[in-house]
């Protein structure tokens, strides 16, 4: 097998990358091309695989029942003017508002690439404790709903009281700007 880059030397380096979504990529290079650190973009990268995923999304929109839910490709982000087509080509977003402007696509992407759409890590300190309370209250509301559905009223009352306590402790929408 010849090196895919120079098409001259035999390929002795075989790079494979496996993604969570089952996509596997391979690249066969000679040693010379592999160690040309000056041109790292010529080599396969996670980014390229990710871009490939963006392409796939176009063909198989990740919506319920195959409903096409894509944003119009030329619709710009209200803050930075980035279009969905630009995002797809670059694999990078233009600003924080792009996450809202292309919300459906970004959410589908995160679900597939990251396997989750819910941050469980650190919060900026300046957001204060309110953000924790809001998260906790959301979780409790879901539990409350489930308890009512299961007619487990004793539990439901407990959740209701906890939610009230949280709401009294600190207003949840202290930072409406960052809240979705």
């Amino acid at each position: 097998m010849l090196c895919v880059k120079c098409q001259k030397n035999p390929a002795t380096v075989h790079i494979q990358q496996f993604m969570l979504n089952g996509v596997k990529t391979e690249l066969h290079l000679c040693q010379e091309c592999t160690f040309k650190l000056d041109n790292p973009e010529m080599l396969i990268s996670f980014e390229n695989v990710f871009k490939g995923f963006l392409e796939q999304m176009k063909i198989f929109p990740v919506g319920a029942g195959g409903v096409n839910m894509m944003t119009r490709p030329d619709a710009p982000c209200s803050r930075c003017g980035m279009t969905y087509n630009q995002f797809k080509a670059a694999g990078k977003l233009g600003c924080d508002t792009c996450y809202q402007s292309f919300s459906k696509e970004v959410q589908a992407l995160l679900k597939n690439v990251q396997g989750s759409i819910r941050h469980e890590g650190k919060y900026p300190k300046r957001l204060g404790a309110g953000i924790f309370n809001k998260r906790q209250a959301d979780d409790l509301r879901a539990q409350l709903k489930k308890a009512i559905e299961e007619e487990n009223f004793e539990e439901a009352a407990k959740f209701r009281d906890e939610i009230r306590a949280l709401e009294l402790a600190e207003p949840c929408d202290k930072n409406p700007e960052v809240a979705q």
């Binding site: 790079i15 592999t34 160690f35 080599l43 924080d96 990251q114 989750s116 469980e120 960052v178």
Partner: protein
């Protein structure tokens, strides 16, 4: 004078050479790098620099654009900067602590990339340092943050914690026996990935790999780190088993390989980076297993591995070199060390 972290003996004590943590952050009031103009980028550099260096002079500030190609290469080879950081001509900021264990890149793919590295196995300590810098910057800067998605990054592959934790690990036995390939799909299931020493898109040299988390969203920083730790421990167990098997069944072959490596390194007159890296890998294994009964060089093997890269050699020589000149300088440097 504080020693650089890679001169610590713990880089040579086991399979794990170093522990590294990277945090990606963006500043809310500026568009991401893709939409950022030079003027905005320059202000971002000065604001971030001020936020990091406030009230102390722990960090050296460097202008990467004013450095020569050789210096830039040295920083790449030391993993202080990324290829992405050197790609475009936007104003950049680079802050490096004295022992080179903490660095901050401004205007890499994201506005701010905080990096912390510890010798040997100590991911928790590396994260703690990175988090300190993160908190320090946050005191004067508002980060782009989303209630559901967490820290927002230019590429959705970093969204959430923005945390990439990694170990640099030495896997000579798995590498030589090709077992490493069978390992990849297994660790991928845990959201963990394995790359060569020089990262994304590069092939492994000297059986040194970077093992890191693929996903940044949906898990806490602590869980990401613990997950990586346990997968890495598993990989290391596999490596140790492969070594034991080799020692039990083909000890002489292993001894031969290690002493041949020593023979070549101490005698060659010209040597490529790839060959030298592979031989250094055998030597490292020789010292770890006590097979190699020779005096240890004055420097850690990992440090030597960095010093024989093209940028480091060129800086040592103080001039541009051809490939052949580099190969001969590399051989000379190695002969002097061993």
């Amino acid at each position: 004078m504080t020693l650089p972290w890679y001169q610590e003996p713990s880089t040579d004590e086991g399979q794990i050479l170093s522990s590294r943590v990277r945090l990606a952050r963006n500043v809310k009031k500026y568009p991401f790098k893709f939409k950022l103009d030079a003027a905005g980028a320059a202000v971002l550099v000065s604001e971030t620099t001020a936020a990091v260096t406030t009230g102390q002079n722990y960090f050296h500030r460097l202008d990467i654009h004013s450095l020569g190609q050789t210096e830039q290469k040295v920083f790449l080879e030391k993993h202080i900067v990324s290829p992405e950081f050197l790609k475009d001509s936007l104003p950049k900021g680079l802050l490096i602590s004295e022992s080179e264990n903490i660095s901050v890149m401004v205007n890499e793919e994201d506005h701010i990339r905080i990096q912390a590295v510890e010798p040997g196995k100590n991911l928790a300590a590396a994260y703690k340092m990175a988090e300190l810098i993160d908190d320090l910057i946050e005191e004067s800067v508002e980060f782009a943050f989303h209630m559901e998605y967490g820290y927002l990054t230019a590429c959705p592959t970093n969204t959430g914690t923005g945390l990439r934790a990694s170990y640099m690990i030495h896997l000579p036995c798995l590498d030589k026996s090709d077992l490493i390939k069978t390992l990849l799909p297994h660790i991928a299931k845990f959201g963990i990935t394995l790359r060569g020493i020089y990262g994304e898109g590069t092939a492994p040299m000297g059986s040194i790999y970077q093992i890191s988390n693929q996903n940044t969203l949906g898990k806490s920083e602590e869980d990401i780190i613990t997950g990586l730790q346990s997968v890495t421990e598993n990989v290391i167990t596999q490596e140790q088993q492969a070594l034991e098997k080799l020692l039990a069944s083909r000890r002489e072959y292993l001894e031969d390989r290690i002493y041949r490596a020593y023979g070549i390194l101490t005698n060659s007159r010209m040597i490529s980076a790839k060959e030298a890296m592979d031989l250094l890998s055998d030597i490292r294994l020789g010292f770890l297993t006590d097979i190699l009964q020779k005096p240890k060089p004055s420097k850690q093997i990992y440090q030597i591995m960095m010093e024989i890269q093209p940028g480091h050699l060129q800086r040592r020589a103080g001039e541009e070199m051809t490939d052949e000149e580099r190969d001969s300088a590399r051989a000379k440097h190695l002969r002097e060390l061993f």
